[in-house]
Amino acid sequence: GAGVSQSPRYKVAKRGQDVALRCDPISGHVSLFWYQQALGQGPEFLTYFQNEAQLDKSGLPSDRFFAERPEGSVSTLKIQRTQQEDSAVYLCASSLDRAHQPQHFGDGTRLSIL
């Protein structure tokens, strides 16, 4: 597609439920990033993929967070047993490669945990 596509745009879940957030990067983009943006703050890095390989997951806040990109294209961020502090906007970005190209962002998914 023309840009990075994220779905759903909004997600409301009860505490303890599992959620899955989807990111469809720009076609041909090798690198894919997930960021978490709390209300009123700047984004914080969660994880990075180069093709299907998850090269860095150091930003994932706990083992309840899991990300995958099995075919090197679409990625899914899964949060298990959600907690209220997981409420945030989750941004996905992609770039042609990691070295020089700028990151292009989707519209994000706003996750609200009740």
Binding site: S31, F33, G42, P43, Y48, D56, A93, R98, F105, G108
Partner: protein, 118 residues
Amino acid sequence: AQTVTQSQPEMSVQEAETVTLSCTYDTSESDYYLFWYKQPPSRQMILVIRQEAYKQQNATENRFSVNFQKAAKSFSLKISDSQLGDAAMYFCAYRSAPGGASNYQLIWGAGTKLIIKP
């Protein structure tokens, strides 16, 4: 570790006037990239301007320009002839050059909310 600081939570400017948003950063690296992103209420982060640290010349994109002071670790954004469509959150971000400590992830400031008065 690298950090980015935006000390202005909110700025306002009259339409058609000029405004400058401040950003400072801390790093021990000599080569890196700096960015300004705009985030309107639609939430999509839009790249406004980018600066390579090894370039002394300040980047310019139409009405947007930066004042990059490497020694002072300062990277301000100037918006000339402000328009209503410029209203948004503006984020300053840092990325290491290839081979650096964080050569792929962006490190972000807390943002500045820009209000345009008609």
